[in-house]
Amino acid sequence: MLAGVCFGDEPCLLIPSRKTTIKHANVLIFFLFSQENAGQFFSSGHTNNWAVLVCTSRFWFNYRHVANTLSVYRSVKRLGIPDSHIVLMLADDMACNHRNPKPATVFSHKNMELNVYGDDVEVDYRGYEVTVENFLRVLTGRLPPSTPRAPSVINEQIHCWILPLHSYTVVSYIKCHGGNGFLKFQDSEEISNVELADAFEQMWQKRRYNELLFIIDTCQGASMYERFYSPNLMALASSQVGEDSLSHQPDLAIGVHLMDRYTFYLLEFLEDIHPASKTNMNDLFKVCPKSHCVSTPGHRTDLFLRDPGSVLVTDFFGSVRKVELTMETINLTGHIKQWEESAADGEPRKETYSYSDQLPVSEIIHQKPKQKDWHPPDGFILGLWTLILLVFFKTYGIKHLKHIF
């Protein structure tokens, strides 16, 4: 029987390239960005909320991470944030994993009550695309120009970066493994808390967010927000430094744990929220006390300008579009111009279209090898030869020189 698996993680060393084998630090960096908090005009305050939901753990035994992220995704969608404003990053595909006894489903509740992998899940970054680099690129907007519109989110200003910016609320939810001061991405990479803080600072400089809520569910999660220094950030973590976040319920049919404790209680809390509810952030901070979670959740609000008691949960999690009724119309009286035939000679111009060559095989086969320019040997080679010659002549004496030449 799989007991609550989160004990005994190995000590995390701070050397960057080392693979971490921490088992349970689920990092849920659940970023919620909020835009437009001048709620005085129009009726509601939140217009343009974005959510960045990240799960960075691979392999079947990390099923619960994907289930957690997908359940948060459902809640966020239910409260009104549209798919076009959500960036969902899942590092592994649990629904189609060959170890899944019920393919095409991901359950978040034991006894398979709720399938969170429904029909309209839109995953923006999946599998190996979930890397530190892509994550930072999505946040800061430094995407290559070839990025299609959907995953690149957040900018409605100018070309390449398509994330809207300018004061929207962003909710960031990250779920993975982590340790003191870093998060693990896919077993091979890490992102440290300083890098994350720098990324948020870059976002702030470009005014890509107005207010940001950062939720992280991982072991020692509080260490991740220690280094934040940009204004208007609020952070929640599932455990303090030195503590582990634990998982919640194993399911005997599927064979893995389905949820983590903090996220489980967080979702229970979110189920009670509907688009018009008035619960504020202080209630969110009380989610999952130590008696339920075993670890102590922490939060950080000193960088946030408003008082957390006055911030509604729906300011971050919900999104209602502002609409205005169109009161004016323009009276158009002209008739529609008919199209005239363009060519003077009466014949329609024929343009032949052809497909461009996808794989120019003939060019590849008959390619001549590229002429490489000759460079004089660079410093290292010269130095090496000089050394060898010096050693040789030191050893054997200069008089042997004439025997060589």
Binding site: L14, F42, R142, P144, I158, H166, E324, I330
Partner: protein, 577 residues
């Protein structure tokens, strides 16, 4: 000795030089906007002695400090002169309509020979004059001279003139002209200075409407300056319009949830060319536009309408409109090749069972246009077709949509979404309806002013924050192309500010667009990613195990050398003594 510089060079990051001092200068934004105004006095407004003192030029400056980094100053150069003969003719000439009326009146008079009708000449003259509409005068004045972009001409007409209707003091034309009726106080001869002093606030009021106003400019600076929620309308305006962008994409979509009953035909190509394209052509200096259209079948609104039995119509009330957009948006495609902001205009034809569908405002009144729009997204119009067929029609019914009506609504929404100001004019002002282009020249000027200011503000913020960021995070590699973009952005910004000062609006907008493009490209360059991060404790952790064993014999031998040298010196000293 060799090792340390070598190590330093191999582990440092390449950072090209950035013009930091110039960027620092730019961070203190001092914008000066100049507008040229020509005030033309027509016959009857100035006395001949006063006329001799004209033409006269006056300059006014206004300083505003927005916050500690941003200062604005407005300069109005006003030139007073008298009207030329041709302008007088244009202001007074009877129009064709007046002449026709006169002709028909004289016809009637000649027919009624037997009845005695005495018509006073004044009556006839006033009839003719009142028919010369201000729009006609405006048009003929425009043919005389074309005012350059950003400038204004105000014609002062005598109080008794019938060019304007009775209660209207100011008429704002379609081009860059306005007619201002001189006040009653000025009838008695006054000195020129008093006349000018009287005119100045009124001309200023006209300027506020037709050219830039302080509220508009501060609203355009909202990116740079955190606005206090003082003026709701201007904030609402700025939040409604799209942010400045070099291009926009306009998508027209026809939503047909019930193709079994309605077969809809809309001549979108022709309608877009005839009605929308003139506006877009006129807006060409501001941005590029691309239009496309699509038809979606079986697309439903996410909200079910309520049946209003009193009027036997279906209604959508204002509160539920907000939930309409999200489900539909997912179905709308977009052009994957471009990343310009998209304006969506949706035409929804309700299905046969839910017709007719009307939108009600909060007071439960029907909205005449039957349309609503969402800021920074687009607009939706509901078009009812139940009048086109009777109950015994054979389904599916062919329906041709009246594009003029539809485009009228979309054009109005397009104007709002693009930021053409919509606030109502002050009392006593009459604003000419915009013509076929959908945009008056002075509205275009307003847009250009606020866009230029917005671009300049955004570009300076971007550049200064980029410089600050690169300073703060020392690990980011700065390539040469980024340095190039930054330099070109700085140059364009300086040029744009200079052009704004001298009043060349067209050039200022162009430079500001270049500046913002270059600055955004530099800031969001994919290579500026700080992936290298060497925290100090990790650096020590790596280097100490490698170098410490090597350093120990070196240090010891150094110590030995030093102690030997000291020993030798001591011996030498001892020998000397």
């Amino acid at each position: 000795m060799v090792g340390v510089p070598l190590w330093w060079r191999t582990t440092e990051t390449y950072r090209a030089w950035l013009p930091v001092s110039q960027i620092q200068e730019l961070s203190k934004l001092q914008l000066q906007l100049s507008a040229d105004v020509e005030v033309v006095f027509s016959r009857g407004t100035v006395t001949p002695e006063q006329q001799k003192k004209l033409p006269l030029t006056q300059t006014q400056d206004e300083e505003h400090r927005v916050d500690e980094d941003t200062a604005l100053s407005y300069r109005y150069e006003t030139r007073y002169r008298t009207a030329t003969v041709m302008e007088e003719d244009a202001l007074n000439q009877p129009t064709a309509a007046g002449e026709m009326l006169f002709a028909s009146l004289s016809n009637q008079l000649s027919r009624c020979k037997h009845s005695v009708i005495s018509v006073r000449p004044q009556v006839i003259t006033s009839l003719i004059l009142s028919c010369s509409s201000s729009a006609e005068a405006d048009l003929s004045l425009h043919t005389l001279s074309e005012s350059p972009c950003g400038s204004l001409v105000v014609y002062v007409i005598p109080e008794s003139s019938t060019l304007l209707p009775q209660d209207v003091d100011v008429y704002i034309g379609r081009r860059r002209t306005a007619f201002l009726r001189i006040g009653a106080k000025m009838r008695v001869g006054r000195t020129l200075e008093q006349l000018l002093a009287h005119m100045e606030p009124r001309v200023k009021q006209v300027l506020q409407v037709m050219s830039f106003s302080h509220t508009d400019i501060t609203a355009a600076l909202s990116d740079r300056v955190r606005l206090s929620p003082g003026n709701k309308e201007s904030i609402a305006d700025s939040m409604r319009a799209f942010k400045s962008s070099p291009g926009y994409e306009i998508t027209f979509s026809l939503l047909n949830p019930d193709p079994k009953s309605h077969r809809l035909h809309w001549d979108i190509e022709g309608a877009a060319q005839t009605y929308i394209q003139p506006l877009l052509t006129k807006l060409a200096p501001v941005a590029n536009f691309s239009m496309d259209s699509q038809t979606l079948y079986y697309a439903v609104l996410g909200v079910s309408p309520r049946f209003d039995s009193s009027r036997s119509t279906y209604t959508l009330n204002a509160d539920s409109l907000a939930h309409v957009i999200n489900p539909v948006e997912a179905r709308l495609g977009s052009n994957a090749a471009s990343s310009n902001p998209v304006l969506n205009f949706l035409l929804y034809v309700p299905d046969a069972h839910h017709s007719p569908l009307y939108i009600h405002d909060r007071k439960k009144q029907e909205v005449p246009s039957n349309a609503f729009h969402s800021p920074r997204w687009g607009g939706i119009m509901v078009y009812n077709v139940n009048d086109f067929y009777g109950p015994e029609a054979v389904f599916p019914v062919d329906i041709n949509i009246d594009m003029a009506k539809v485009m009228g609504v979309f054009l109005a929404q397009l104007r709002l979404l693009l930021g053409v100001q919509s606030s109502s004019a002050p009392p006593g002002f009459l604003v000419a309806p915009c013509g076929t282009a959908g945009l008056a020249d002075w509205e275009l000027d307003r847009l250009m002013w606020s866009r230029s200011v917005e671009n300049v503000a955004t570009a300076t913020t971007t550049i200064t924050s980029l410089a600050q960021l690169l300073d703060q995070i020392g690990n980011i590699v700065i390539n040469d192309n980024i340095a190039e973009q930054v330099s070109s952005a700085v140059t364009s910004l300086q040029l744009a500010v200079a052009e704004l000062e001298s009043g060349n609006l067209g050039f200022a907008l162009q430079y500001s667009k270049e500046a913002i493009l270059a600055s955004e490209r530099a800031f969001f360059d994919p290579s500026l990613l700080h992936l290298l991060y060497f925290p100090d404790d990790q650096k020590f952790a790596i280097y100490i195990p490698l170098f410490l064993p090597m350093c120990v014999p070196i240090l010891l031998s150094l110590l030995k050398i030093i102690s030997d040298a000291r020993q030798k010196r001591r011996d030498k000293q001892a020998k000397k003594d």
